[in-house]
């Protein structure tokens, strides 16, 4: 997708990006029809023992973790007063907003009666459920993100007055955002604390909520770096000087922070291991896989980040970011699928079907398309000329 989009639109609709996106969208629509006529059974490999598949494991778990860039960036900029992150805030907020919107969109496929998704909030509150907590926070946070994003929208639409009112709320919104994110990021992990008998002991811990929260910070920062890299080429012409000038500084800053937080994450994972005395599992097959996750996807990127920051080597940092993102996906997959139901014989284990993979790709593609749509039109990578240097 390294094609200059505006030029492409003018030239032809059949750019490679558009073709691939088009195919995925059409396939997604077909599966959508199947899902809402034949039920989950028709398109998924879910069964009575494996109620949650990649629509939860990837779309929800990974989606939410990877959209953590929103709160980490805005907190760094507005709460911790690190001004060099300012240029990164809008892309991060937009990604987070789209990420959460798509999580909710994907849930529409996964839950049985999507129109009842507001029920837990408005009809009957199951307050002891961690899923209630997640649902409440995701809904509130989606609202917060939307409001945080509206300045770009209003600038685009030229609604100055309301834009300025919203900008005044920035600090409050940021703090709300961090509170809500802390809660639902950790609660996603805590979802599994109810099933100690089903989740492999290497992954089960009473610390699961803390693990999820801390790893979401790494995920958020790495995602900002990773996605900045991805959007750099196709969006380059849209990026203003401030963004470009600060971009390397932002990468270095987040790289340093991510390295440290990953180190902390690794440490608390080891503590979790010791707390439940699960060392002996390390020599089993699951243990090997756990070590791959811990060493390859936590320790290694932490170290790579450190090297990148020390040498001011942006390439290494970007690789480390990619690896961290992969690591978070691996971790969420492990908890929701690989290590879940570990006690069942292999024939009863879950493996995603094509229908599920299609919908997951479909959701991601929608995200990319909408991001492109918005970022090519609204002041995301650049400051609106009317509000230049106003920060």
């Amino acid at each position: 997708m390294s094609v200059d989009t505006i030029a492409a639109e003018k030239k032809s609709l059949f750019t490679p990006f558009n073709i691939i996106a088009g195919v995925i969208l059409i396939a997604g629509l077909i599966v959508t029809v199947m899902r809402f006529t034949g039920g989950l059974g028709a398109v998924t490999n879910l069964d009575q023992n494996n109620p949650w598949g990649i629509w939860i494991g990837f779309d929800l778990m990974c989606g939410v973790a990877l959209a953590a860039g929103g709160y980490t960036t805005s907190a760094a900029c507005y709460v911790f007063g690190l001004k060099k992150f300012h240029a990164g805030v809008r892309p991060a907020i937009l990604t987070a907003f789209l990420g959460y919107a798509l999580v909710v969109f994907a849930l529409g496929y996964d839950v049985g009666r999507p129109w009842r998704l507001p029920y837990p909030l408005f009809v009957q509150q199951g307050t002891t459920s961690l899923l209630f907590e997640v649902g409440l926070c995701v809904m509130l946070y989606l609202t917060v993100l939307f409001i945080e994003f509206t300045p770009a929208l209003f600038e685009w639409l030229g609604m100055k007055k309301i834009r300025n009112t919203v900008v005044k709320l920035t600090l409050a919104l940021t703090i709300f955002g961090v509170v809500l994110s802390t809660l639902h990021q950790s609660s996603l992990g805590a979802l599994f604390t109810i099933a100690p008998s089903k989740l492999h002991p290497l992954w089960y811990s009473q610390y699961l909520p803390v693990f999820f929260f801390v790893s979401s910070i790494c995920a958020g920062m790495s995602m900002v770096i990773f996605e900045g890299t991805l959007s750099h080429k196709p969006m380059h012409h849209l990026m203003d000087e401030e963004y470009l000038n600060n971009h390397d500084g932002l990468i270095l800053g987040f790289g340093k922070a991510a390295s440290l937080v990953l180190f902390g994450y690794f440490s608390i994972k080891v503590i979790g291991l010791a707390y439940d005395n699960n060392w002996h599992y390390l020599t089993t097959g699951y243990g090997a896989w756990y070590l791959v996750e811990m060493l390859g996807c936590v320790a290694l990127p932490s170290f790579l980040y450190a090297i990148g920051v020390r040498d001011r080597n942006i390439t290494v940092i970007k690789w480390a970011a990619g690896l961290t993102v992969l690591g978070i996906i691996v971790n969420r997959f492990n908890i929701s699928m690989v290590a879940f139901n570990y006690h069942l014989p292999s024939a009863e284990r879950y493996f995603p079907s094509w229908g599920e993979i299609t919908i997951s790709l479909f959701v991601v593609t929608i995200g990319v398309v909408v991001f492109r749509f918005i970022s090519t039109r609204m002041p995301i990578f650049y400051e609106h000329p009317d509000y230049k240097g106003e920060h």
Binding site: G39, A42, Q48, P51, V111, Y119, G126, S197
Partner: protein
Amino acid sequence: MLRRTFLGLLGAAGASVALPTSAKAGGKSFGPHPDTQAVLFDATRCIGCRKCELACNEVNQLPAPDKKFDDLTVLDTKRRTDEKTYTVVNKFQGKTSPVFVKKQCNHCLEPACASACFVKAFKKEPNGAVSYDASVCVGCRYCMVACPFEIPAYEYDEPLTPRVMKCTLCAPRLAEGKLPGCVERCPKEALTFGPRDEIIKIARARIAAYPDRYVDHVYGEREMGGTSWMYISGEPFSEIGMREDLGTASAPELTAGALAAVPIVVGMWPVLLGGIYAVSKRKDKIANDERVAAVKDALTRAGEEAEKKLHEQLSKAEVANQRRIEVEVKKAVEEALAPKEEEAETGEEES
């Protein structure tokens, strides 16, 4: 956990073993409702005739199965409950002869499904049944993730109105004063129905009367906080497809820690973050003030120095040099000010 350790833990609970279980929170304890009914399944009595499955199917008007209920070859494969079957009987090879175990919702005292449900679709009724309300169910299937006994089943083939299906303890029949369908139909009273505390006493009495026929453990008395469907068996429970590593902590206890942290985050995060904001803001302000002061200072110092120099020069030099000196001084002042001003420029910010 090893069975032995597990039983050891049970033993450690001491005198309370024989009493009905009670979950605890913050010094308060909650026993089951006095009206809680229970069923005891005696694996030594079950002959695997599947009459309970038949009765369940009829009573709940469930769809007819692929193979008839008198076809006992079904027992050769291990089954679990599904959306068309609230109860199944499985066959296991015991030490000498086959052992049959009936599986259905255990109607936990502290149901994991109820704890997990975010619309309160599940409820532990006073009569012991764990009821399900399809009219609010969203279909998230978290109950299925949470259930340690792998009971709730989902109508995966329903596109728009899927329900979670599980044994109801025949609550409607109980209301009419009848026995649950399976209990009534069992030809050998392998299922015994009664108030939960009575049922525990019965189970203990049977084990005491025939100590070498039974394993000395009432499964479900304490597992996951206790259940309303309990089991006694002649084979170790782990050999007959029942997990002995579930522990005695109930589902609400398992998530209590995570839930308790939530309000603390809400209470303290704004304080903490607001504090950090205020500190960073203040630091910025101080840094700014210092910068301004430094600029001022530099300005005056440069001015003074220049003046001093001027005087020295004046006293020494001739008048002819005076013009050149003035130019030099001016340059020095400019040099001293230039970088500071640049910094100060970027120091301002929006709020």
